[in-house]
Amino acid sequence: MSVVVTALVTSLSILTAILTVTAWAIWFERKFVARMQSRLGPTMVGPSGLLQPLADLVKLLQKEDIVPEAADRRLFDLAPKLAALCALGAAAVVPFSASIVGAKIDLGVLYLLAIGAVTVLPVFMAGWASNNKFALLGGMRALAQSLSYEVPLVLSAMVPVILGGSMDVSKIVESQIATQWFIIGPVWLGLPAFCLFMLAMLAESNRIPFDIPEAESELVSGVTTEYTGMKFALFYLGEYVHTFVASAAASALFLGGWDGPFAPGMHWMVLKTFALFGFVYWVRWSLLRFRSDQLMRICWYWLVPVSVALLLGAGAWVVL
């Protein structure tokens, strides 16, 4: 029984932590971007606008829930919930320290990739159920993009798996502590694999420069066009949580997880995750988006061949 209680407490605290962090990550992003654009960002609610996320939450809760008349009602309602669920579900296997991990399963990496693969279905459901041409086009783009970038994502995630000799994320971190971080061990293998993983991850979570599914200039806002209030908020939340969990996964797989030059512990993992998270937003507000065809070309002409080469390289490195 105590096992169940421990698991419950751990997962609840991880869940709460992630949701809280996400709320203030949005505040951070707005401040960060405002500085980049010589603005101030939120300043009114609380000191430096720190309470803005709470105010936003209250605002979103009050908004009218509008459902288009011709929408597929059940799918329309289900999609945002599933989207948030998939994003949060992936957090289960990310180890924040040697002991703080939601579920210690042998096939953590496979689980992460499998959840990532399912995440696109709710996005498509939203696009289809809205019965709106912009939403449908957004859904189609999201599907095509996710299907393509799945390949380099899986292949590049296999590099640390091969180097670490396990699919358990905790064990991969431990083997990095025992030898060296996989991003530099060896660097010709780790660094490109890390970059590929981050790129494919950005594409999977529909982030700039890969955000054509919700390209505002052409598709209003893609699949979320028809969504209002809390349903929209769930999609928004799912997107942020996805980026956050993926950053955490990248830190664990390539950057040594909770290992650090001194005093190893959870703070290192949190620091690395935030650094990657911040990087994603830096990229988001600096770059333009690719066109649909450029996106596919990059994936199939460049990323896939390179990731196959890296996979072979990793195998050779381990054998030799």
Partner: protein
């Protein structure tokens, strides 16, 4: 105990979603029910101590096959036309055939004395070693077969693509009809 109950729930979910796959009128709904059925099957694999199979099932079937089917529906059907009549004239014949297959399988399974192994299930590392060691030839043959299938699909798609390029372009955007047409 909890695991057994979960297995029954998963099994029931597979059957129920399977029924909805054939009974839904909306093609997209049918595909989504299929995705649920495949997901629950993965759950059953996990219950049966085959976590690798479960993970791969989700990755390829739910993430790959179901997504591709949805994509196919989306690029070929108009929104309204997605709701098609689920049944047709062969309903009765189909039911008889399905029941017959079910009966044959059920009898075969019940009559077979299935070995209940108590040996620990091999872990994933062992699975990989067996595949690339003992069964290397078969493994490579299967990948060659898949490659041939992919190349064949591209060849067929290409030929039709060149013949009916304009028509394909028109069907690519199913709901982009405006007041002009």
């Amino acid at each position: 105990m909890i695991g057994d109950a979960l297995a029954w729930i998963l099994g029931a979910a597979v059957v129920i979603s399977g029924v909805f796959v054939v009974a839904s009128r909306d093609l997209v709904h049918a595909v989504l029910w299929l995705a649920l059925a495949l997901l629950c099957t993965a759950g059953l694999y996990a219950y049966l101590d085959a976590p690798f199979l479960a993970g791969v099932q989700v990755l390829t079937y739910v993430g790959g096959v179901a997504t591709l089917m949805v994509f196919g529906v989306m690029v070929t059907r108009r929104h309204a036309a997605a709701a098609a009549e689920a049944g047709n004239d062969s309903n009765v014949v189909g039911a008889v055939v399905a029941l017959g297959v079910f009966a044959v399988l059920a009898i075969a399974i019940l009559k077979t004395d299935l070995p209940t192994s108590t040996a620990p299930t091999p872990d994933t590392a062992e699975l990989g070693r067996t595949l690339l060691d003992d069964y290397l030839l078969a493994f490579e043959a299967v990948s060659l077969l898949l490659l041939a299938a992919v190349v064949g699909a591209v060849v067929i798609a290409r030929r039709r693509d060149v013949e009916a390029r304009t028509q394909d372009d028109a069907t690519l955007l199913p709901t982009m009809r405006t007041g002009a047409d």
